[in-house]
Symmetry: C2
Subunit: 194 residues, 2 copies
DNA sequence: AATCTTGTTGTATCGTCGTTCAACAGGGGG
DNA sequence: CCCCCTGTTGAACGACGATACAACAAGATT
């Protein structure tokens, strides 16, 4: 009688994906302290050797997780909304972006950036894209009108306000509802763009 | 011949203060991962047993560090400025509050709040005070005029913007100058209060 | 100078960490 | 059906984690 296989073989890409997902879940559950080889592999249903095998080291996985977070966030938050800033605000506070787990993962990752040169480089690259995109959107919305503030500075204000609202929600989910966050952002934009 | 004392005895309060300071330094230097008994005691020039002795556990010290951060921040940022919001903005971005080490420590602590009920309780207590203080200041500055927004919501916007600017600077100090941060805040307030 | 209180030390213990590596086995190509 | 490539396993390792605790000593009191 043939016994069932003791494990399944995946392609390298599939397995990397699984490990990234598991790493994310651990980060969300217990912060950076829970981002351990044992916990991640248990979460992924794999053995301890796999992280080293697929990512060279635990730090390699952490970098991959950070890039994945940004890619997913951008996919939701930064499509081309043209001049429709309200749509962009809605996207930035979409459920999947501001759910407890996602924000907890962001917070854990942010706290590692200052101590990890690779994460720092990744952060700078993506953050510049983020800011550039916000600036472009605001430029379109301004549509030639002269504002009481430069578009660059308004974009910085916009992005910083979003970051602050995210942060508050990340630290204490109860504190801030999705609706309040949205409204605050829109109020701010209206004050400069009407 | 009499040899010099092998260690000095401090009062419990003095030693607690020293350990808190050392814990803060470790947090600033290497994030929560560097907040270990060995490193903290080395930094404080004390032996390993002292943290347990004075704070019951490492977590006890972490809570004390968090409270100390808030107390110091409030001492600088929240005296009574009356209606002078510009002075409050200046205070919030005072050098000692936005220097690299202080912000790195905040970031490390924030990332622990969701995983630590004691920190969470502390956070809620202080954050409510922070928000209430901002609301009162804005109420005075509004001075009976009717604004395009409620004072509570404007206060939330104000505090969130500050948090966002702090966060960006905490993650990447190079990104944001003190002056830019100040100006962005003042621009935002002017848009609603002029 | 003897005594007592109490802050301090440092070892011992046990758990968990990240990484290595030799052996293993899934499953497609011959 | 066998072979071989390669993804996978899990034990072994040395380093480091937090805490407990018994011995110690500083320094005020007497």
């Amino acid at each position: 009688m043939s016994t069932s296989p003791r494990f399944r073989r995946y392609t390298a890409d599939q397995r990397r994906e699984m490990l990234i997902e598991a790493g994310l879940a651990c980060l969300a559950r217990g912060g950076i302290a829970a981002f351990t080889v044992d916990k991640i592999c248990a979460e992924a249903g794999a053995s301890r050797g796999l992280i080293t095998h697929h990512f060279k080291s635990k730090d390699g996985l952490l970098s991959a997780v950070y890039e994945t977070m940004y890619e997913r966030m951008f996919a939701v938050a930064l499509p081309d909304y043209g001049a429709d800033l309200a749509a962009m605000v809605d996207a930035v506070f979409a459920d999947e972006l501001i759910e407890k787990d996602a924000l907890a993962a962001w917070l854990a990752l942010w706290s590692e950036v200052p101590n990890n040169p690779t994460l720092q480089a990744t952060h700078r690259r993506y953050y510049a894209r983020y800011l550039a995109r916000a600036t472009a959107a605001i430029e379109q919305a301004a549509a030639g009108r002269t504002l009481a503030i430069s578009t660059e500075r308004l974009a910085l204000m916009f992005v910083s306000l979003i970051d602050g609202l995210w942060l508050e929600r990340a630290i204490d989910t109860r504190r801030l509802s999705r609706d309040t966050a949205r409204t605050v952002c829109l109020d701010m934009l209206r004050a400069f763009l009407r």
